[in-house]
Symmetry: C2
Subunit: 632 residues, 2 copies
């Protein structure tokens, strides 16, 4: 079985990779934009639509409000870009929110930022895949009833791809990203041209999602603004990945960030304007992007290619989470805040546990929310904005530290070099503005989306942080208990009592006896008597085979396998408190699991029974049943 599994997993995942094979290669600005921007750019596929979904509550008459809202979000993007530029220069080794918060604010804000980011990576997968599937079902409405299945299928596919290990070749990213950018800009240009020449038709035959109309309130406008802010998710990606850039790293990363923000802003405002021009209607059946493309091109091959490019960029966006989540989870685990297993690299050098965890959680979300982007959006982005706020606040604190340094002085903190900067006050103000604005947006988001699902994240994030610290406390106390604290006295052998359990006298128990004899120490054979007839039978066989060698019989009046032995071992320990008790028993090993299930497999029961007893070890001697092979 094990062999069959192994070869199956090798077919699925490829041959194992050596640790030394981990690649380190720097990339230029043009491919870097593709690698880091897919998450941010793909959000234009749904951000405009989500604004319209909320405005629809007050009626289609207010759809024009989407334009000022998009402009307000763009202003926020400009502030964020300037703030993050400073982070990029301050942390050339990579300045994710977790690291910036840990260096400047302490453990609690750092863990909070981490929890928020991990949650949001999961949501990025769920939202991007759901949106990608929505593009597919816009073009092929017959697939709509199977949207959950299609989404889960895509997540599984990406899981396998990532367990194989995506070779982060920049071309794999560059082609779909620039393909999407090309198609998106083409759509904007053709649309603008047809609008200017008065030949742009309006969307037809789309049923809008709206039940009873509510009056337009500030609350609704803020809700629409919050929904649109999902356009900003992913803009922090470049600051996390500065080390991937060619030298001068920070400068290249900063100009890539600038380019990304410019493209993002243009696309977002352009799509919002065009949606207005064609009178796009938010709808479960067809995405706004599909409506625009269909109207601009009048259907046909260009429409289809536009949708395909959008779907592909959304899948690429989900894929960035498959790279980032396991890496961040491993960082947390390495610091002892998440289970250590998350730091293990699998046979293909990837963090397999992290990938599996991400895929499992994202699939769960897709199933619960039925692959609906609008249902997922209230959970999304709140974590991103929390981490924005913490990261910018960390920068503010950092500038305060910088201000106390001497010109020319350099301090290294966790690999990031801190230098005096005469401009510190201005830069601090920039980051402070960023921190305040993102904080305000987060509060607006939390309040306006609270009932729609934001409460889940608001409850979950502190719960996660609490668990992180509980895990950390556990590892710390284990470490202190395992610590030898400089103790170095020689290790003295202790007395040993060996027991061999005899259930019946057959080839497997003979092997256990043989092993026990081979240990070369004295030993005692013990039988636990549940059925008096079987015991009498064994005693007869024992005498015939083993002569005078005594066989201790422990009565088990309540038919428990382990309790009489526990009592016996307790007695032995009282007699010689310093001794190790070594319990040897035979066990049968079959080739297949259904066969194994036909046997008692009592080894586990004994191991569990003695796991809390100090100095007691249980050894099972497997006896391989080979002739059963033919049964398969």
């Amino acid at each position: 079985m094990a062999t069959a599994n192994q070869s199956f997993s090798q077919i699925l995942l490829g041959r194992p990779l050596e640790t030394a094979a981990a690649p380190h290669q720097a990339i230029g600005k043009v491919p870097a934009l593709a690698v880091f921007a897919s998450d941010a750019l793909s959000s234009v596929a749904y951000a405009t639509e989500e604004i319209l979904v909320i405005l629809a509550l007050a009626g289609a008459a207010y759809f024009t409000l989407s334009i000022p809202i998009a402009i307000a979000i763009s202003v926020l993007l400009i502030v964020l870009t300037i703030s993050y530029r400073q982070t990029i220069f301050a942390y050339p080794g990579g300045g994710g929110a977790y690291i910036v918060a840990r260096d400047n604010l302490g453990e609690l804000p750092a863990q909070t930022a981490g929890a928020a980011l991990l949650t949001d990576y999961i949501l990025t997968v769920a939202v991007s895949i759901s949106s990608g599937v929505a593009q597919i079902t816009s073009a092929f409405p017959t697939l709509y009833p199977y949207r959950v299945e299609v989404a889960i299928g895509l997540i599984l596919f990406m899981t396998v791809i990532n367990l194989r290990g995506v070779k982060e070749s920049s071309s794999a990213f560059a082609v779909p990203t620039y393909f999407f950018l090309g198609m998106a800009f083409l759509m904007l240009i053709v649309g603008a041209f047809r609008w200017a020449t008065g030949t742009l038709p309006q969307v037809s035959s789309v049923e809008m999602v709206a039940d009873s109309l509510q009056p337009l309130t500030l609350f609704i406008i803020l809700r629409a603004f919050s929904s649109g802010c999902t356009a900003l998710t992913g803009v922090e990606a470049i600051s996390n990945g500065i080390t991937a850039f060619k030298e001068p790293r920070s400068r290249n990363a900063a100009s890539t960030m600038l380019a990304m923000s410019g493209v993002l802003m243009t696309l977002f405002i352009g799509i919002t304007l065009l949606a207005r021009a064609v009178h796009a209607q938010p709808s479960e059946a067809e995405t706004v992007i599909s409506q625009i493309a269909r109207t601009v091109y009048g259907g046909g091959i260009f429409y289809l290619i536009t949708l395909i490019s959008t779907t592909v960029i959304l899948i690429m966006a989900a894929n960035t989470s498959f790279a980032d989540f396991p890496r961040l989870a491993a960082l947390h685990a390495g610091d002892g805040f998440l289970p250590r297993q998350l730091t293990f690299r699998g046979s293909r050098l990837v963090f397999s546990w992290g990938i599996a965890l991400l895929a499992g959680m994202a699939s769960l979300l897709v199933i619960i929310f039925q692959a609906s982007v609008s249902a997922l959006i209230p959970l999304y982005a709140i974590g991103v904005f929390l981490s924005f706020t913490l990261s910018q606040t960390g920068m503010v604190v950092r500038w305060q530290k910088v201000s106390k340094m001497q010109p020319g002085e350099e301090i290294e903190v966790h690999g990031a070099i801190m230098r005096y900067d005469s401009q510190w006050r201005w830069k601090q103000i920039v980051n402070a503005v960023g921190a305040v604005m993102t904080f305000v947006v987060m509060i607006v988001f939390a309040v306006t989306k609270f009932r729609d699902g934001a409460w889940i994240v608001i409850v979950l994030t502190p719960a996660l942080v609490w668990s992180f610290f509980r895990v950390h406390h556990h590892y710390k106390s284990v470490a202190s208990e395992l610590s030898l604290a400089g103790e170095s006295k020689p290790i003295a052998a202790r007395p040993l009592k060996t027991l061999v359990l005899i259930d019946n006298l057959h080839a497997a128990s003979i092997r256990a006896l043989n092993f026990t004899m081979s240990l070369g120490e004295s030993w005692t054979a013990v039988h636990i008597s549940i059925d008096p007839d079987r015991t009498a039978d064994l005693q007869r066989k024992w005498a015939a085979r083993m002569g005078d060698t005594p066989l201790v019989v422990l009565q088990s009046p309540y038919r428990s396998l382990t309790e009489p032995l526990q009592t016996y071992v307790q007695q032995l320990r009282q007699e010689s408190p310093n001794a190790y008790i070594h319990i040897v028993l035979g066990s049968l090993t079959t080739e297949s699991y259904w066969q194994q299930a036909l046997h008692r497999n009592s080894t586990l029961a004994f191991r569990m029974a003695f796991r809390q007893m100090e100095g007691v070890a249980v050894t099972s001697i497997p006896f391989q049943l080979h002739n059963l092979l033919s049964e398969n």
Copy 2:
């Protein structure tokens, strides 16, 4: 955790019972009727209704046909009773279909009978509980939407009761059974009196289940007959349990069987007649019994008491399966056709695995068929009639053997004494008639109910029989492989190579080292190097603490924990093919499962890696982390 669980299970199930406490007490005829007849008698609660459900397909005009159908079924009952009387006298030690088939027909028919009976015990629980719940929801229609939950609740309740061990005190059976009989006969008498005096009203306000009418065909009449045959399930119970009777056992059992059949026939025909007289309508909302009682008594306390007594007898009927299924499964398991675990008696002397299996399967059926008796009926009874046929055929073969004996000669087969009987030919004819009639009914049942669900049983039964033989083959080949075949040469100690795995140098690995030293043989310390930095660190610590003692470092370029060690062990085995390899490693034991999940728990990985390697044993030395207690 283990302790907490144990005390919880003791609260739920009671204190453990000694093996010697198993009771053996003989009972008289009057309580015996109660103990063995609840299954058979309770079926009158649904048999009439199920006939009407099928006749309704052709229209209410044909409901009068239920009377000749009930009479035909009663004729079948008479034949069965006479046939089973003979089985009772032939097998005073208990003559269940499994035993009669095994003695006279061979393994395959015996296993088939067993598979059929086990399936039907599961269905008895599902049908009886569903019918009981239908009585409850007839009286309290608000409970109808929760019928599945109520049914599962009842099954869970019975599971706990039976895991505690039902003390088969006859009064616990006698009270509800005779209470039901009293209420049922009272209803018949009052109903007959009101009918004779012309004061019997007709059922009102019941909506009949019928969509489009079909013409009345022979097929529909046979289907109705098949449905009604469920009244005969359970009549074999007395022949299984003859040992429980006072001496003269067979005579007492036979007259009890006669009494039971008489009561069953009277009740079944009486209820069918009364159902016709009050114009009862088959309905999902109200059972026929409820309609009759409501009409006869005009509602009120007598109506309610009648329904309660019916519900209780149905639950008692389900309870007989909880006694019979685990016993029969243990019989199969003892003969090696089902997993041995089914023969283990739990702390309360009951076959816990069998009870759990029955409860699980019955619950599954109740959930799948939404606690609908009419939906479950097509699966039911086919197994019973198959086992009737096999048992009667077995008797026919037995009489043939008897005919060849000398007068006065006695042969013992499996505890049943076979004597010459001059009446053998007549008796053989009786059993042959029984065999043929039950076989015909089974075929009618299979054909007429095939599409409604009988196909499931028709597919499942051979599959079960096949698995039984596969299990049997497995146990036989294991036994032959384990057999020492009279070998008795002295057991010679073999050379031993002890390896101790060192992952890091801390208290737990020091304990593993200490245990290894205490074994008193030479040993080798081995480290599997995944991370070069950690290995260098360990080597430094090792040198400081252990001086010149060598530490073998196995490189693991693919980060596998077990593969380098497997290769190393293979080398050792090639060097000394006769040696045992003993691998010792430390492991951490925490108090709670969430803490345990935070550790690598590599013991299992090593044990799995070496389970197929002959002569390799893995011992983990647990290190108990006690100070973590305070975390809980």
